[in-house]
């Protein structure tokens, strides 16, 4: 049997037995509002679940009963034994319907009009108000319910018979389950009207007159069914028990405590050489682990539970909107924590509704744009590294960037100028802003502008993220990433200034030990600590500074002291957290921090460790936004999500420095291998150019300004660019800062060595072309690549990137490396070249591009174009494993992070030599 259905049966049967008792109590204490509202609530629940499961017959009966109870509750009706009996009778009907439902997994056909009729009558206060009515068995105790019901059924039949309705056949009368009833759907309306006029009088006499004839068959059928239901009910009910969630939570706490105690015991045991406790403790250990696992399992539920009502919802929407919608649900058995499940239910429903309403077009529109008539919404859930990923995908019209722009301006969220500088990805983010709706008209379904922002807030509340991908005309995909459970996370325990902290393992990329004697040392740029890690500079954050911790001796630690760097990733932003020591990882139970401390955004919670001590859990998001603000000098960027979202775009770390003329200069930090301070006295001349002995080699020094005269004393900062065992020093005058900004080259420079000018940190800044200076130092800087080509003909590279900056950066870089480069702005331009018959040896393509994305571009190429065998290298700022997979799937040969010059050159070289090998 369907899980949902059996759960419903269990729950409803339970509720019904409670109701039986409660109703009887109500009859005895009609003035107990608490009792009444409890009854009302229970019936309401039954009605709600029936409606939810698509059980119209049950729903109708429950609804009519609820109406009556509602009147009781509002004091519009006096609670009489008759009314109570009627309700009880309705409950019995529900029970018998449930019995059939349990046996056949379907509602019996037919309906219960007479009963409903009578309930409606009762709700209108027209039901025999005389207390002397023949509802004889006074206290309708549980044991007497059957008799009571018979009597009432009889009454009902009689009433029905007496009512000159158009369809007053006795066959329609028994409100029981198995009788297929031939009542016309229209029947109740006219008959009701008629009854209303006559009501006060007739019921009483007929009741007395005609109890016998129909009572027998009715009770016979109803009785057997009910008994049947009784036995079956227990069979379903015995498989599951319903337990209060609080009880489970308590159990969970107790188990956590037990685990702590066990850990302590084991610790003691370890210090004893031989102990008679060893064996029993070992057993205790296992039992505890299993117990913990079991208790954890009680919290897990398949995500299908949250999806259960979606097919119905989509069906109804399809009708309402006149669309054809096919809903596909994949991975419904993916399990996640009950608590998380509850929290994502509503956002999911909302998003599916959005997809159906906004996303999918009408069948006519779809045909016009060459799609199949039926729109598809796909829900896909799967596990990925301790997270659950839920994708909601539609093949509808996609998000209209222009509309979003217009709306953003209209709502004052951004000015036209600001929008012009934004990428599509950034613009899409606007739909997550409060009060934003692009639906042209507000429909019943959506478009009221409460929605995506709430969805986003709810998802972020449980530590999840939401990502939107959309292609105009092709559909949208929402990717939600949520933690598997809120309760337990794996965390790395670190120490800083004698205090211990937990860092969620999920954001930790790697650990690096930094010390004076190791290959990694912490260096400082104007006080900002950085670390060289695999030819990159990693911005560092000192936990001690960040948390304003004082070390015991009161002095700040020196950079030569041993430190550990926890390399942390938040979104696409990677940074290092400096800590003193790193301990083990531990599974921890996250508990929210006290309200007094909730304003501290560095902590996501606190927990109790195995040794019983309390520890604070660091929130990498909070740290990133705190340090991000520091670095960018932005104020008011409290919303971490916006910082986060913005960072996914073209923002990059830039090293600002001064050299030559007054204008500050910038170079992408990722190109710089190291920063050195060179003693001018140690500068020697070789071959007419200044060099310095550096790590046992000669490193040429190149000034930015060719006329710059190096003095012979003092020190000068030098940016070191390294490649393999060669390095070059770019002499500058002063290193100013490291900023993280979106780089838009606004003026293209005529001067060699400059890529152009951009506004960085609010100032016009020259962006230098590192490639130019590299070749100044070594004419054959990129020689390795050239050698390996080993071919007379230069390999032709097609570069597809929408950003002029990247085209400007990569074109010279690749040219210098010996490739013949053709750069185009869009995938469409590239495909046009393909049409024109151009040939290339390799294609390098950006992923995030307006119009056709890199993924689609690759798919198009691979789908039998002339270039289908040309290797393709993807270039993206999102180099997560998932993107890599996706890239491989659509046909990219390799995937390189933007700005990883070495990786790109290596990938090209590799790809081309593979190609040659294969040929």
């Amino acid at each position: 049997m369907d899980d949902l259905l059996s759960e419903f049966l269990t729950e409803t049967n339970e509720n019904l037995s409670v109701l039986d008792v409660e109703l009887v109590r109500l009859e005895q204490n009609p003035n107990n509002p608490e009792l009444l509202s409890n009854i009302f609530r229970l019936v309401h629940t039954i009605k709600g679940t029936c409606g939810f499961l698509g059980l119209p017959r049950l729903e109708k009966v429950a609804h009519a009963s609820e109406n009556v109870l509602g009147k009781f509750r509002d004091g519009e009706l006096v609670i009489t034994p008759e009314a109570v009996s009627l309700i009880l009778q309705a409950l019995d009907t529900i029970k018998s319907l449930l019995a059939v439902l349990e046996a056949t997994e379907a509602e019996p056909p037919g309906d219960d009009l007479p009963l409903i009729e009578r309930l409606n009558l009762c709700a209108e206060g027209k039901l025999a108000p005389a207390p002397a009515a023949p509802a004889a068995p006074e206290p309708p105790a549980l044991s007497k319910a059957e008799a009571e019901r018979q009597a009432m059924l009889a009454e009902l039949d009689a009433l029905w018979d007496a009512t000159p309705g158009p369809d007053a056949t006795p066959a329609a009368a028994p409100g029981t389950a198995l009788t297929p009833v031939a009542a016309e759907p229209e029947a109740p309306v006219p008959s009701q009207n008629l009854v209303v006029h006559e009501a006060p009088e007739p019921p009483a006499p007929v009741k007395a007159a005609a109890p016998a004839p129909s009572a027998a068959p009715a009770s016979g059928m109803g009785g057997s069914v009910a008994e049947d239901g009784g036995t079956k009910e227990s069979s379903v009910a015995s498989q599951t028990i319903r337990v209060n969630v609080d009880l489970l939570e308590n159990l969970m706490t107790m188990v956590s405590e037990l685990v702590l105690t066990r850990n302590q015991l084991l610790q003691i045991l370890r210090s004893q050489k031989e102990s008679e406790f060893a064996a029993p403790l070992q057993r205790l250990n296992h039992v505890t682990s299993e117990l913990q696992e079991g208790v954890m399992k009680t919290r897990m539920q398949p995500i299908g539970n949250a999806w259960a009502k979606l097919p119905r919802l989509v069906r109804d929407l399809a009708h309402e909107l006149g669309k054809k919608i096919d809903l596909q649900m994949l991975g419904a058995d993916t399990e996640l924590d009950r608590q998380v499940l509850e929290l994502i239910k509503d956002p999911l429903t909302h998003m599916v509704r959005n997809s159906a309403d906004h996303g999918l077009e009408t069948p006519a529109d779809r045909l016009r744009s060459g799609k199949s008539e039926t729109g598809r919404i796909t829900l896909n859930a799967y596990h990925e590294g301790g997270h659950i990923i839920i994708e909601i995908q539609d093949d509808g019209r996609g998000l209209a960037i222009d509309k979003i722009k217009a709306k953003a301006i209209q709502n004052g969220l951004a000015t036209e100028g600001e929008l012009a500088g934004m990428s599509d990805q950034q613009i899409i983010q606007f739909i997550m802003k409060p009060g934003f709706s692009t639906a042209a008209a507000i429909t019943n379904v959506s478009g009221r502008g409460v929605g995506m922002d709430v969805v986003k807030t709810n998802i972020e509340k449980i530590g999840g993220t939401i990502e939107i991908k959309s292609v105009f005309g092709r559909g949208s995909t929402f990717v939600i990433k949520i933690p598997l459970t809120l309760a337990i996370v794996s965390a790395l325990i670190v120490e800083c200034a004698t205090e211990r902290f937990a860092i969620p393992q999920i954001s930790v990329v790697e650990l690096v030990r930094a010390a004076a004697d190791s290959e990694h040392t912490i260096e400082r740029l104007k006080g900002t600590p950085v670390l060289r890690l695999r030819n990159r500079l990693l911005p560092l954050v000192s936990l001690q500074t960040l948390l304003r911790l004082e070390s015991e001796d009161g002095k700040q630690r020196g950079d030569d002291d041993e430190a550990f760097i926890v390399v942390t990733q938040v979104g696409t932003y990677t940074f290092g957290i400096m800590v003193d020591r790193v301990f083990d990882t531990e599974e921890i139970v996250v508990k929210p921090v006290s309200p007094i401390l909730r304003h501290i955004e560095m902590f996501s919670g606190n927990t109790i460790l195995g040794d019983g001590s309390v520890i604070m859990i660091l929130d990498p998001n909070g740290i990133a936004s705190a340090t991000g603000e520091m670095a960018m000098g932005e104020t008011g960027a409290k919303d971490t999500s916006t910082v986060h979202a913005a960072r996914q775009d073209d923002k990059m770390a830039l090293l600002l420095f001064r050299a030559g003329d007054g204008a500050p200069k910038a170079v992408p930090l990722s190109l710089v291998a190291r920063l050195e301070d060179v003693d001018l006295a140690s500068v020697e001349m070789s071959n007419g150019a200044p060099v310095v002995q550096y790590r046992g080699k000669l490193m040429p020094l190149v000034p930015i300004d060719p006329n710059f005269q190096m003095g012979s004393e003092g020190r000068l900062p030098v940016l070191v660019f390294a490649d393999g065992d060669r390095s070059m020093g770019l002499v500058v005058e002063e290193i100013v800062d490291i900023v993280e900004e979106k780089l838009v080259v606004q003026l293209t420079a005529e001067r060699p060595g400059l890529m152009g000018s951009a506004i960085i940190a609010g100032k016009a800044t020259d962006v230098i072309d590192a490639g130019f200076f590299l070749t100044q130092a070594y004419k054959d800087w990129f020689g390795n690549a050239e050698e390996s080509l080993g071919d007379d003909r230069a390999a032709r590279v097609l570069l597809v990137d929408d950003s002029p900056f990247f085209r400007n950066l990569l074109t010279p870089l690749l040219s210098v490396a010996g490739y013949e480069v053709t750069a185009v702005e869009t995938a469409a331009d590239a495909l046009a070249l393909c049409e024109q018959g151009e040939d290339f040896d390799v294609i390098v393509s950006d992923i995030e591009m307006p119009g056709m994305t890199g993924f689609e571009f690759a798919e198009t190429i691979r789908r039998g174009s002339r270039w289908q065998d040309v290797p393709m290298v993807a270039l993206s700022s999102h180099a997560t494993p998932r993107d890599l997979d996706r890239g491989r799937q659509v046909g990219f040969t390799d995937y390189v992070a933007k700005f990883d010059r070495d990786a790109l050159l290596y990938a090209l070289q590799q790809t081309l030599s593979d190609q040659k090998g294969a040929a």
Binding site: L260, S594, I615
Partner: protein, 168 residues
């Protein structure tokens, strides 16, 4: 041990009506030689010296957090809150655990005394000249034999700085 706080939880929150009842029971405590009292029904636990985890960036009144049978309790430095000098490091203190809106707080004091049953006759409103910072957290004074006892109002004691904002 684990269910020791159950009875207290069920009875909490009834200690506010001190004037109306004939006599009231108070847990007494000393902080810097001053005597203070908290209605006994608000007290969940009395703890000896505890290992406390410092919480960086927290308000100065928050001494840290501690583990009470699997629950995390926020420790409040009452001396700091009452603007009294800090306790000498070598003297171990004690703590009184109270419940406010479902959260547990541990009030760090010098020592916890006996429970006194005090009559309403000895009760008096705060003198107008009392340090306003004390007046803010006290509901009144009891005249004891040779000593005065300040009644601390737990919700107000815990309502410092940004707590209200954080709850809002």
């Amino acid at each position: 041990m684990s269910n020791a706080n159950l009875p207290a939880t069920t009875r909490k929150g009834k200690g506010d009506d001190l004037v109306t009842v004939g006599s009231q029971d108070y847990v007494t405590m000393t902080i810097a030689d001053h005597l203070f009292g908290i209605p006994v029904l608000q007290v969940q636990d009395v703890l000896g010296h505890q290992r406390i985890t410092r919480i960086p960036l927290a308000p100065p009144e928050v001494a840290g957090a501690l583990n009470l049978r699997g629950r995390i309790v926020t420790a409040i430095d009452v001396r700091q809150r009452l603007h009294l000098p800090s306790r000498a490091k070598d003297k171990p203190g004690m703590s009184i655990v109270v419940d406010l809106r479902g959260e547990l707080y541990s009030l760090m004091v010098d020592s916890v005394g006996e429970v006194l049953s005090l009559s309403a006759q000895d009760y008096e409103r705060n003198p107008a000249t009392l340090d306003p910072r004390w007046r803010e957290v006290s509901t009144g004074i009891y005249r004891l034999n040779g000593q005065l006892m300040v009644v601390l109002d737990v919700p107000r004691l815990l309502n410092f700085a940004n707590l209200e904002a954080a709850l809002g």
